[in-house]
Chain length 381, copies 4
């Protein structure tokens, strides 16, 4: 039997959205068992949450948890970090120091320095550091990457990526009812990058994941539409790549009508592709001058798509399955690392701490460009 | 903590499709733990499968399993039956007799008589008998039902339901490679209804579930396109309902290009709706003479949709989540039955053994109509 | 210069919908000039309409017009008949007798006998008799036909065709405000077939046009949902073809939410196609087990599509262009007939009087089946 | 009877694409009759084209035509200019000087100075100067404008507009076979702005038309992907509007797979809209946090949509009808001007010479920004 790995969790207590998602994702493919947790910084809520979830070992604090679990023979193999952003780095550091593998929600850290330190520590400790850029877990996103890598698009010329939501179109953080809104717009908990850090980095990662390219230069602007908001709620950027490709990225949390509209289009010299996260079971592929093909995960001959799916084409998979895929790949890598074996090739598309560092570099570049960017006046009559 | 229910499984060993789906579905919402199984009629394969899955108690036969589990203090609360169709009734009977709740893959049984006997037995024993008509687990299907029930469509006039696949367009059962194809086209294992039993009944159930109506009369034809096939691979029917509504149903496993195209459209005096299983996160609603609205699960104010979803709108859910919903509702009902309480209202949409009986009655009516139906000649020139 | 043909029109005065459509269609490709008309049975309205449209010669009656135009050296080459249905046959007869080519709105006639007589007369007089089954003028419909003919679908197995509207969901003919509704639901003007004659025949023709097959047997039912209506407003039918293909056809004018939803799907042994009249610039083509391709008129290598289009792919064409195509083909055929030449091959897809006769045979068969059809009772519990 | 206006044409001889489009557009609503033309700068081709089209008066040169037509009692009311871009200004000047109304293909002129001079001349002469920004003729584009104007979107926050094609992805101008490609990539005939002038200005105009806003500042980049090409084939820009709105615009003629993908999205504080030129019969409207509505021209209560359509909803209209709408509006305005009456309100959405000037100002600003724009380096590891 394939042993279930022992998983711990920090954050994600009652009322938290992303913690529940991580738990389902960890469970879905039956490779993890949640056995320990520090579910809240509030000890009572931590315990109540643990009871509700049936977690065997509940801790009042994550540093205690890291020490205690490291000391146990049956201690956790890995920890999921699902706290607000400002705790990602300190928590991850504690568990890496304790020799425990880390699966961390994005963004990686509050600053590039923090992020680079985490990357170094993970390398030094030879521990897995997986970052849950969920959307790279979709079979058709992975297939898109393969198409680019295999040259099916020719040389990439144009990248268009966007992530639109509307849930922050009004100042809902001010009433305090929506806990998500409160911490995600609070620079102390979320970092200085608001929409940029929350979803802009997802768009950035998706484009990089599929094209295999990072932009070398950007012209970007941060904007806050909602009065009183402490962070940006809209970001727009133009991108330049080193072989001459051009691109654009925008993300907005005030785009009225948009639910979770992460979309990527890539145009190469031979073909173009389009992916829409809200309809993730298909990938559109159009050869230059030709007819669009609707590729679906079960009907492409693709090892990476097969590895990332559970049911036949026509039986839609979604966000939770994409998330579960990251956990499945993490399990494969944890077992290999613990056994001193090379990482299994089929797990190679798992998002890494380096991807997180790239995201932090992008955030820095956006802030810099936002200050430097000179617009040109249009001489309207 | 909410206790995880102890689940057993009959069928679903290595290589089986639907067994793995049931296991994910049972696990997804963390209400069940698989602790016992008779995964194959081949004892060695049963054991190997159990080892691979880490199931604590493996049985060589399901009748032994029913007896043994009933005798244990920590015996299973419920059993999932995922065998080929011909075993549904005997296995379910054994577990019901042993006082164990049943969750059974569809179709319910090989004959109407078998099905009615099961329904009676479940009632007599006061045990849950849930039938996994997966597609009724989708939030937007449940919301569609609510819309009809609330009168938002007015009086239903026209029902159009269809289920198209293409995986049996060639005689793939003859080579034996595709085990699914072999047993599903073998009347001894699948029953006399091929496409009709496999997917026609899904279409029939979906229409009934959403409209709350069963047809009172049908004109139907069974057809086998693929030479040498022992069962039908195409079925078409016209439907009449008791208040004058009309409808059509067709299902085909030779519809080239179709993956898993289950679609329902209902037109009432006030509005029409359309649902497509391959794009299950939306429901189209169009008032008479008006603009189509794309309803999504997170953006309708709907208790039934909320109960059947896990993540916000824009984060797509799929087939496995719909399946998991049936298990979640089953858990709620099992706990209530065991506690002698009324079934929780939020679980009321779970498919019942009576739905299965209705499906068997439809199968019978199709076979009868297929013999009686008189076509009229068109006098082509 | 290619001479513009001289066109006459009967019917289509002020307030009529289809007359204006025919005039735009005749004008669009610049092959016809409207020079004579009997636009209304009311002489004053006829004259007022002619004045408004700038038609040179206005007649108070169509029989006078037929005689007078036949007698002129510069008399009309062809007449467009856009009256209510009951006048199609008498008007067409008068003009054919006068040696004038006929372009007639559908349905061809009130009865099969009338229709067959017209077909014979057109043959005897060697005059064009074009019937405006508009939807066969779409480039992608013509390309679909070519795909079937060329064997790209393999042998046709399943035909699904439907035509849904909602404009007659209420008894709007009773108020008299909607003139269309009044005459189209009046058996004396529209014939005994309501929805069946108005749009059911379009669906029937589209399926026949694309597949090249007529059903040999049908099981059909007419239904009237709206109380007090004198004709059917819904029709459903099952179809059998002579090489074993099966099919379904339904048409409804009470399908709440439907605008003009004429849709055809054809599944063959090798591939399936789907066409939706409301999105006519694309044709979906899906090989067995493969990915759907979105074919567009400018991006398929297709003589018939090229012949039926005016602007590049991506520049959408619509209903009026499809209609114009019939006029363009009619012009080609009229010139050939008048010159004693064979019909130009590129015009060969123009709908003929024989297509109209086939439609009338279908109407007859539906009425017969509607009386003979025996439904089978479903033994609901 | 409404008199048909007498129309002349300059350019658009055999083999030209846009000339034929203008002729169909002028004819479609029966408000113009083409009676005079200088169809080619090659006198023989001019005459041959005129003969083929049946144009009564053919001229070897446009200046001769302007003089001669102005001198006739039955001279043309208006001239359509469909030459390559470099001739727009001189030809338009000649006809305006001759007191003849002008309908001109876009872009207005080669330089802003030329364009401003034309605008002044048209004002001074009190002649119509209509510019055929086709896409503003679509009913749903006009309805979109009305929605914004009526405040249905609230305050506009984000504008996303794009225009993607792939027909210039390869250096097809070098072979000379494609005449369109040759002149449109030749700065002497097309101007210094390639993709920017050809389609970027369409995108710019569409956004301005719908939102009623022009950006006050831009950050833009021109790019040429195809080696040896003399003009840009890709342009990307970020936009700032004066009340704080933000936006992006991109246009590309190397976007593999794109046919004629002009798309606009506008997000306001209350709702968002989306329009796709390739599917022009619908407009998507989504309230903040709500369900998307698919608005269609016949099902919205909209004077501007009704004025711009000919057939009921569900009967698709397309590019030619949108183009015809501009001619229809031009006819209304010409009659009013000639009669000394105010312009009819229903024609008010016709594109003006001022719109053309705004487009030229945008082109200038893009070239300026392209030189000034400072990108920021991303410090990739």
């Amino acid at each position: 039997m394939t042993r279930r790995l022992r998983l711990g969790m920090v954050g994600g207590g009652q009322g938290a959205f992303i913690g529940a998602v991580h738990r389902i994702a960890a469970r879905l493919d039956d490779r993890f068992e949640l056995v320990a947790a520090a579910l809240s910084s509030d000890p009572q809520r931590a315990q109540a949450s643990a009871d509700e979830l049936g977690v065997a070992r509940s801790y009042a604090s994550w540093d205690e948890m890291a020490r205690a679990e490291a000391a146990r023979d049956d201690g956790i193999d890995a920890v999921s970090i699902v706290t607000p952003n400002h705790l990602h780095a300190p928590v991850a550091t504690a568990f890496l120091e304790a020799g425990i593998h880390v699966i961390c929600d994005k963004p990686l850290a509050m600053t590039l320095e923090e992020g680079e330190a985490l990357a170094k520590l993970a390398r030094d400790k030879n521990r897995l550091f997986a970052l849950t850029h969920t959307y790279s877990g979709y079979p058709m996103v992975r297939h898109a990457r393969e198409l680019v890598e295999a040259g099916e698009l020719g040389e990439v010329r144009v990248v268009q990526v966007e992530y639109a939501q509307d849930w922050l179109a009004k100042p809902i953080e001010l009433t305090g009812e929506n806990r998500q809104a409160v911490w995600r717009t609070d620079p102390k908990q979320a970092g200085r990058a608001g929409c940029l850090g929350d979803i802009g980095t997802h768009a950035y990662h998706l484009a990089a994941f599929v094209t295999g390219m990072l932009p070398i230069e950007i012209a970007a602007e941060l904007h806050t539409f909602v009065e009183g908001r402490q962070v940006d709620d809209h970001i727009q950027a133009m991108l330049r790549y080193d072989k001459g490709a051009r691109g654009m990225l925008w993300a907005s949390q005030v785009a009225s009508g948009a639910e979770n509209a992460l979309r990527l289009r890539v145009y190469g010299t031979k073909a173009g592709i389009a992916f829409d996260q809200e309809n993730p079971n298909e990938l559109l592929f159009t050869p230059l001058g030709g007819a669009t093909q609707r590729l679906t995960r079960g009907r492409v001959d693709s090892d990476v798509a097969r590895h990332a799916t559970r049911v036949p084409a026509g039986h839609p998979e979604g966000y939770l399955e994409a998330f579960a895929q990251l956990y499945k790949d993490a399990a494969l890598q944890i077992e290999a690392i613990d056994a001193g074996l090379p990482l299994p090739p089929e797990s190679r598309l798992l998002t890494t701490v380096e991807d997180g560092v790239a995201g932090l570099r992008f955030i820095d570049a956006v802030f810099t460009s936002n200050e430097q960017l000179a617009y040109t006046r249009v001489k309207n009559g």
